[in-house]
Symmetry: C2
Subunit: 404 residues, 2 copies
């Protein structure tokens, strides 16, 4: 007995794309680099996990058949011609074989993506699967599905929140780049995004790396405020990946105290993320309250200026001199030379001379999203707050560098 | 006295793009990583060279002025505001300073590319240049133009050939990928492209890396056949770069025995390439004459099949079984599994089983350019010749690998 599954290539492609970032990147446990596929009630389920981040999605109503042997199927009459094919195939002994298998995720994505036929047949055997599309045949080794970690969504009815997918996506994109990239034990609390729910129906997403912090806020219509939690950068990247590929309008959040479940109803997709057991710093304390200088200028003009001045800055600093209604940006390095640029500004408060890291300044301006940007400067040596003019839902806080 | 040059940004960009591959990549002599600019009769000349490959081009009729000091110019009245600017500027002492300078090529390209203004002013001083466009100012260190190697085109009237740019470009693209990438002393003769001129007005371009060889032929209307020569891969890449960016229809070739000059009249561009002093192998001997099996199939279908089968081959081999009117391609690796694909073919001669390197097979098919491709197979262990059906001006010869 062999299971035969008939799947549409484009649907399989889309589903695997969404699952791809949940797979373990580097792992000593090979099963975590695989996708688990499983047929239940004619739906093809896909699972991926690295034990902290998990994905579950499905393709509804695929065609599943049991065939006595692979020759019963018209498509495959010519399979047996290749000598290789025969020797690699194993006799199916177990009648109770379940319709499920685990394959290496990256090779499987690569193969399915490159097939020319839309109609794909997958034959399940003991230790292999055979993929047939038109005259393309692939015999692929599989891993034991029993060894694949169980992914149990375990929806909790309480604490349900519904997000607009686009709004949530945009919020995440505005903060995630500030997360600390490496995930060493001591700084594990910065290698992620903090979801801070507050009374009155506010959610604040916060990410920081020790030198800068980004914060995006959303006002929601909820009755019970759930506890706040921290999600790892890896988990956030998978969530972002799904939100970008998805066409669902609304996304639901469940939280059971240790795991967060995001559910995309229309597409039958679940993302299950383990909360990071670490304390996020008290970010409210870092938000500056009093400012010495406030400056407003054009976002686009500033971005273009920063592109050029950064060339001369290399990895050193960009000096910003605020004087009357002029912002002068300068940078220099022995290799490139000196760059000086001027911008017109609106200013409140004192003239000031201050310096920033080119990358940190530019990434802030990249995420402003409005035509004008506002700098709120406390001093040459303490936090600067940068925000879009006319949008109080976003702010970016950066430490200046010591003036050279 | 300061020279002031007024240049159009887009013209300068284009010219530097074309010159960019002539600059030395890794060098212990920093001047070779620079562009030399020089003003003669109101034309701005650009020179680049790594001593083997040289580029010379120009922008006609730029505006050149002598100003007493930088303050005379309206644009720059605000320069002096920045403290940095003043200290870095040097007093001009030499009245006889020549209007020429050398700047680091990659930084200069980066800066000019990112300017928002089309009108660029360049001020020449003793050891710096100042670039001003709108409110952007760059003060850049320069290198001594006296130290820049002289590039003398030295056109020889005899031996002139005129090429159609598009045809020459296409010929080069069809062979250059076969050149040996590394340029060690022992294999220097394969790290380039051989220009073989033959009686009757034929030019054959040949490139080989020891495992494969590509050959493109052109019939020309010439009286005197020039001697054949070998150009390095670096020189060929610069020539290719210019041919791709150029809009000139015709390109002229001069040869003085040791240097080849390509001249693009309409754009005033010269590329001067030192001939490599090494003997290219006798490639005619490698072209197989008798074939056991001849196969014709669809280029596009084969290319798609190769994309998929290569996934399973990884870096190993693709096995090709020719049987009647079917080509079966198989590949396997322990990690990915087994791939089997079938293609319909027209066949003459014997059935055969043969194997190739996936990369070498795929790159051949990538360059065929006609809807059908022809395989001329001599044996499992000797050269295969692959060519476009209906086009005798191109052939690709590859060694099969030992069947596993």
């Amino acid at each position: 007995m062999i299971y035969k599954l008939e799947v549409e290539r484009s649907k399989l492609n889309n589903l695997m794309d969404m699952a791809s970032k949940a797979v373990a990147k580097k792992t000593t446990n090979p099963i975590l680099s695989g996708f688990k596929f499983s047929v239940k009630d004619n739906d093809l389920h896909l699972y991926a996990t690295d034990l902290q981040t998990a994905f579950h999605g499905l393709i509804k109503n695929i065609i599943v058949e049991k065939v006595e042997n692979i020759n019963e199927d018209l498509f495959v009459e010519n399979i047996e011609e290749g000598a290789e094919t025969e020797t690699l195939f194993e006799e199916i002994s177990d009648e109770n074989i379940k319709p499920e298998f685990v394959v290496d995720a990256s090779y499987f994505i690569d193969i399915i993506k490159n097939l020319s036929f839309e109609n794909i047949n997958i034959y399940l055997e003991n230790k292999n699967i055979k993929v047939i599309a038109g005259k393309s045949e692939f015999l692929l080794p599989t891993m034991n599905p029993e060894e694949f970690p169980e992914i149990v969504p375990n929806k909790v009815e309480e604490g349900l929140i519904t997000f607009d997918r686009q709004k949530l996506l945009s919020m995440i994109e505005k903060v995630i780049f500030c997360s600390l990239k490496d995930s060493e034990n001591m700084t594990r609390n910065l290698n992620g995004v903090y979801w801070d729910f507050r009374e009155g129906g506010y959610l604040t997403l916060v990410a920081a790396d020790g030198y800068r912090l980004a914060l995006a806020e959303l006002s929601m219509d909820i009755v019970n405020t759930p506890p706040s939690f921290l999600l790892s950068l890896k988990s956030m990247e998978e969530l972002l990946n799904v939100l970008r590929s998805s066409k669902t309008e609304e996304i639901e959040l469940f939280f059971d105290g240790s795991r967060v479940l995001f559910f995309l109803d229309e597409e039958n997709i679940e993302i299950i993320l383990n909360v990071v057991d670490a304390t996020f710093p008290d970010y409210v304390r870092i938000i500056p309250q009093a400012f010495k200088t406030k400056v407003i200028t054009s976002t686009d003009l500033l971005l273009n200026v920063l592109k050029r001045v950064s060339i001369a800055a290399k990895n050193d600093q960009i000096k910003m001199e605020i004087k009357d209604n002029i912002m002068e940006l300068t940078a220099k390095s022995p290799e490139v030379g000196l760059a000086v640029e001027e911008l017109e500004i609106e200013k409140e408060g004192e003239d000031i001379m201050i310096a920033y890291s080119p990358k940190y300044l530019r990434e802030a301006i990249d995420h402003i999203g409005t035509s004008e940007v506002e700098f709120n400067i406390t001093s040459e040596s303490s936090q600067t707050m940068i925000k879009p003019v006319g949008d109080d839902s976003y702010m970016y806080i950066v430490m200046p560098v010591r003036l050279k």
